[in-house]
């Protein structure tokens, strides 16, 4: 599965990362090499193997469905690049 510049540009857009043309060139080569190295996984027989979705076989914890935290608007807004009247300010989304 060869990786070309168009594909890298497409995934960079999916990941919302702007890449200048020079970085795009370098990254395409590097990512292609990394994926080529990763392709050795195809040698492993994984017929009938369940993907590992859970690291430790421990039961998940249940807790009462109740509010235990909240009312911390000031804390939450403290690190925002821009706020107004208790809200985050974001670029215009709807025209």
């Amino acid at each position: 599965m060869a990786l070309d510049k168009t594909t890298v540009a497409r995934i960079a857009h999916l990941a919302r990362i702007e890449l200048p043309e020079t970085q795009l060139d370098a990254l395409t080569g590097e990512l292609a090499r990394i994926l080529e190295w990763i392709d050795q996984l195809s040698e492993v027989d994984t017929e009938d193997v369940e993907p590992m979705r859970k690291v430790m076989e421990i039961a998940a914890h249940w807790r009462t469905d109740e509010v235990t935290d909240g009312g911390r608007r000031e804390d939450i807004l403290k690190n925002a690049p821009e706020t107004h009247d208790g809200y985050f300010v974001v670029p215009k989304v709807v025209e």
Binding site: E18, V44, M52
Partner: protein, 493 residues
């Protein structure tokens, strides 16, 4: 340099308890040492005022006889742990100026045990790296150099600042995080002890997430006893982390004996990788001899899927990272670079805010999870991951612990391997398999390379069996009697 910074954590704790020294003196000695070791760039943020205030409170508790487990012990905190009111950067520009309004569970437990915060230790950006060269705040220097040489060496990574600080005696101990080797490999490079406990042993709450199914917090210290002590304070169930284990934390401090008579130790044939320096193979053999001499039985074992661990890791970790790092959008915290519209603002913020290695991994992860490739890459890697975990489960029917080298080389030069991502990834060839299986592992300094640099040996244990790992680690430590100091420090002594 004050003698106070040369104490081990265990010695300092005893001296504080019998009031031979004060927490204030101990903190001051470390703050002075930190100032004269700034060329290492081990700390991103130093917190002298907070350290002195915490030390004063510790002294008051010591006077009242209310000392906690780590009362008055000065620590470096990897800058991946959120600390309330202290800049937390993850080594990334994108978290520019971020001051968390809350405390990570692990650091909260440390402060509750009486520990003193010296500052936030440098690290690879978002803990992605094996040389501490990807930090926005600049690379960390290893306090070790080759004898009579000035060439800067890397401390390993990603917990490079933590490891360098402990080795350079500018912290009595440090927290680290380990996703694929980020505690054990820098511990090996810096001649100290580093341990990754079982996945789920320490809470991940408040630790900036890299790969959630792999990230674990752990201690970096100068001795195995110190390691047990620090881990004791860090571990435990936390309802705020759904993957944290609701299991009793054993008494590792009291249980540590170093007695390994009758234990069966496995030597995995597949860890003899191509191109491994002879001196590392010799050190590994010597380690096995030491354990045999201490009464353990050495057995050859097989972990057949070992060579597929790294490529599987480089799908799984980036996939999880691409999802975790989606939160850095420039809207709620950290850096924002304005564009003409929302999408452009996202793209500019993330394009400028992330460094090259982080971009590489987010892109690999995005690719591996994208439509049409998910089965071929992500599902395949998760299946291989199970194969690797099964290998270990099979081996642990026959042995109680596994001995391997920690890393395939000693510390290398700053700048080396930086233009070759795959060469850099190979640093973690011996640490990644246990990470994928969620198992505990420790690195203990075991000897010097022919160039005079520290080399570590790794002990891997069964899930939740940190106690055996610590005991085998202690036995190695006793036999190795590794006392060499980084050469700059030896001269200052």
């Amino acid at each position: 340099m004050s003698d106070l910074v040369r104490l081990t954590l265990t010695e300092a704790r005893a001296a504080l308890a019998r009031r031979a020294i004060s927490a204030r003196e101990l903190a001051e000695a470390h703050l002075a040492a930190m100032e004269s070791a700034r060329d290492l760039n081990a700390y991103i943020t130093e917190t002298p005022e907070r350290a002195l205030a915490m030390a004063a409170a510790a002294d008051a508790r010591l006077r009242r006889g209310e000392a906690g487990l780590l009362e008055g012990i000065p620590l470096a905190i990897k800058d991946l742990f959120c600390t309330e009111g202290i800049l937390t950067t993850a080594g990334s520009r994108i978290l520019d100026g971020f001051v968390p309004p809350y405390e990570s569970t692990v650091t909260r437990k440390l402060w509750e045990a009486g520990a003193v915060c010296l500052g936030k230790a440098n690290l690879d950006e978002f803990a992605m790296g094996s040389a501490n060269v990807t930090s926005w705040y600049g690379p960390v220097r290893n306090p070790w150099t080759r004898p009579a040489e000035e060439t800067p060496l890397v401390p390993g990574g990603s917990s490079g600042g933590s490891a360098a600080a402990v080795a350079a005696r500018i912290a009595l101990g440090a927290t680290g995080t380990d996703t694929g080797g980020s505690i054990r490999q820098p511990a090996s490079f810096c001649g100290i002890v580093g341990m990754k406990p079982t996945y789920g042993r320490c809470s991940r709450f408040g630790i900036v997430a890299f790969a959630s199914s792999l990230d674990q917090a752990g201690p970096l210290t100068r001795t195995v006893a110190d390691c047990a002590l620090l881990l004791q304070a860090m571990a435990g169930y936390d309802p705020r982390d759904s993957t944290s284990a609701d299991l009793e934390v054993p008494d590792w401090i009291g249980g540590l004996s170093g007695r390994i008579r009758g234990l069966r130790i496995g030597i995995p044939a597949e860890y003899r990788v191509e191109g491994m320096p002879v001196e590392i193979e010799r050190l590994w053999e010597r380690g096995a001899e030491w354990l045999r001499a201490a009464g353990a039985e050495i057995r050859e074992i097989s972990l057949p899927h070992t060579r597929y661990a790294l490529p599987a890791y480089y799908i799984i970790a980036p996939a999880e990272a691409s999802s975790n790092l989606a939160r850095y959008d420039g809207m709620r915290y950290g850096l924002r670079i304005e564009g003409d519209d929302l999408t452009e603002t996202y793209m500019k913020t993330r394009g400028e805010g992330f460094g090259t290695e982080v971009k590489r991994r987010v892109l690999i992860g995005t690719y591996a999870l994208s439509a049409g490739y998910y089965d071929a890459y992500y599902l395949k890697a998760q299946k291989v991951r199970r194969r690797i975990a099964e290998d270990f489960a099979e081996a642990f029917r026959e042995v109680d612990a596994i001995l391997t080298p920690t890393a395939p080389s000693a510390a290398f030069r700053l700048g080396e391997k930086s233009d070759d991502p795959v060469a850099m990834y190979l640093n973690d060839v011996f640490t990644v398999p246990a990470s994928l299986a969620g198992l505990p592992g420790i690195s203990v300094p075991a000897g010097l390379s022919t160039e005079g640099l520290p080399l570590g040996l790794q002990v891997i244990g069964r899930a939740w069996d940190e106690a055996t790992v610590l005991d085998v680690g202690r036995a190695l430590e006793e036999a190795a009697a590794f006392t060499t100091l980084p050469y700059g420090l030896a001269e200052a002594a």
